[in-house]
Symmetry: C2
Subunit: 317 residues, 2 copies
């Protein structure tokens, strides 16, 4: 009989899991070609407007396969419900049996996305991080900073958001974690002050311009995961010393790399896959003067890994 866990149970173990290691291992397996990730399933609804996506896959020879369902209904706020919902299903790759239903309501997607940011920082951040920049003061902006806590010593942060109210709430929430947060409504001020920047907005136009970026900066672009969204001036990628993607296959059709290639200023053969940087430090940052960019579009292997991790923690507890 499959084990069913709700969000409260999932949250009760999430903080004690070494997510960064699980996600790191997942990206390494992905770049070694050991992960099968079929095309995403999609349903589009007209009335009310919304969508549902099915992401699924498995690591060859692993004990599990995972199916994730994520829904987003744009008018849910009108009836007091969250826009996004979802769950993850963990099956045995040995018997085909359903092992667990993780009723995470979409939170594990937030967690695994933040963990990918931490994996990138571990391998690509400058040796001395002067100040962390967060572009986007919402839920994922909080998660990214929390997840960086164990990876980067720096506790100075500049956050950008869409309103003074938003950034002040962010500032107040991050203070108890030991973060000293400056706020701004100008993205360029983040770039001027910070050499490790994480962008987590749903923007469709660049928020960071090439001229804003200091030598030695690393940028992790998390927000753009479609063909439309864009947070970075394509020239940033063009001039970067190293550009990394979580998935070369996905970068061909979505994210910052897709935008820069489409703009004609950047060639995709210059991109290194994240899993390669993880297993071969020589393909990562070589000096504190380099500008580096990691473009994350989200890969199903992250869902596989976080499901396994959460199930192991809950099933053993």
């Amino acid at each position: 009989m499959a084990k069913i866990y709700d969000l409260e149970q999932i949250n009760s173990v999430l903080d004690d899991i070494d997510l960064v290691s699980y996600i790191e291992e997942g990206f390494a397996a992905y770049s070694r070609g050991e992960v099968v990730v079929p095309p995403v399933g999609e349903m589009i609804f007209d009335d009310p407007r919304g969508e549902a996506h099915i992401k699924y896959g498995f690591i060859k020879g692993d004990d599990y396969f995972v199916i994730k369902v994520a829904s987003g209904m744009y008018d849910n706020y009108k009836i007091g419900l969250p826009t996004n919902s979802g769950l993850m299903l963990l099956f045995s790759q040995k018997t085909g049996m359903l092992l667990s239903v993780l009723l995470d309501e979409g939170h594990l997607t937030g967690a695994r996305t933040a963990a990918a940011g931490a994996v990138v920082a571990k391998h690509m951040a400058p040796q001395h991080v002067e100040r962390i920049g967060i572009i986007g003061a919402g839920d994922q902006g909080r998660r990214q900073l929390r997840m960086l806590e164990s990876i980067v010593d720096c506790r100075s942060v500049t956050v950008w958001g869409v309103s003074q109210e938003e950034v002040e709430v962010y500032q107040a929430e991050m203070a108890p974690l030991g973060y000293d947060v400056n706020t701004t409504l100008e993205p360029a001020e983040v770039a001027a002050a910070c050499n490790l920047i994480v962008t987590v907005t749903p923007a469709n136009e660049p928020l960071l311009q090439r001229a804003d970026i200091r030598a030695g900066t690393h940028i992790t672009a998390v927000g753009s995961d479609t063909a439309e969204k864009q947070e970075l001036d394509p020239q940033i990628l063009a001039d970067a010393d190293i550009v990394v993607s979580d998935s070369l296959a996905q970068a061909a059709s979505r994210g910052e790399i897709y935008q820069a290639v489409s703009a004609g200023v950047f060639a995709s053969d210059a991109v290194v896959e994240l899993g390669k940087v993880i297993v071969d430090e020589g393909s990562g940052r070589q000096s504190d003067e380099q500008i580096t960019v990691a473009d994350l579009t989200g890969v199903a292997v992250q869902d596989i890994q976080i499901s396994k991790a959460v199930f192991a923690a809950l099933d053993g507890s």
Copy 2:
């Protein structure tokens, strides 16, 4: 919070549901173009050998969308487990929220497949059914006969199976339902005695030949749902007065119609979709001399309808 139901709970309401009406309604909606059924998601496993399929879709404007996962691991019998497993997920199309997890272990697929056979019989069987023929004495062969009980008055049956033991077990199990079952190991004997035949085997070679089929016979071909499987001599379709498919789209790549078209003896433009026969009796059987064939490959709208029916029964009970 989503409601979770296990197989025992599902079985406790299944017999009281008017499945035939639900499935009939689903096929009618499908043929009216009201159902969205994206391509099936698929994972293939090598060690141990197996597969998982994800079927999903929704009726436009309906309250629900449904995702079904079905797995099949070919070596499970070695460890005493059933080959097939699965579950159905029912979501709100209005809010995107997960409403119910139906842990049916694949049984609802068996039930909705049998109900489709009954829908076909309701609309295509000869007025006077002399004897029902069942080709294939396994689980689906039992389900088909049970589901015909409310549709067809006839209680005389001839069953074909792969061994004398198999057909005798079938005979004994169906007797308490009021069925007088003759057994045979020769498919032609079924065709000689019966004018309503249901084929439910995983055969890759025809079991019924054109010469065996009497005038006035209706055949529902349930077994073949891939490009490889085949139960009927293509000439049966070529000579049939009416050939019906549950899905014209799927008939282009799988099932008996695909086989007959590939053999060059049959043109697919002669095929009528089941939903059309349901709403327009004029497109169905016109006399008791006609030979008619329905080729069922299984459509996600059946999963949608049975999930809704079971959830309504359980949630209200």
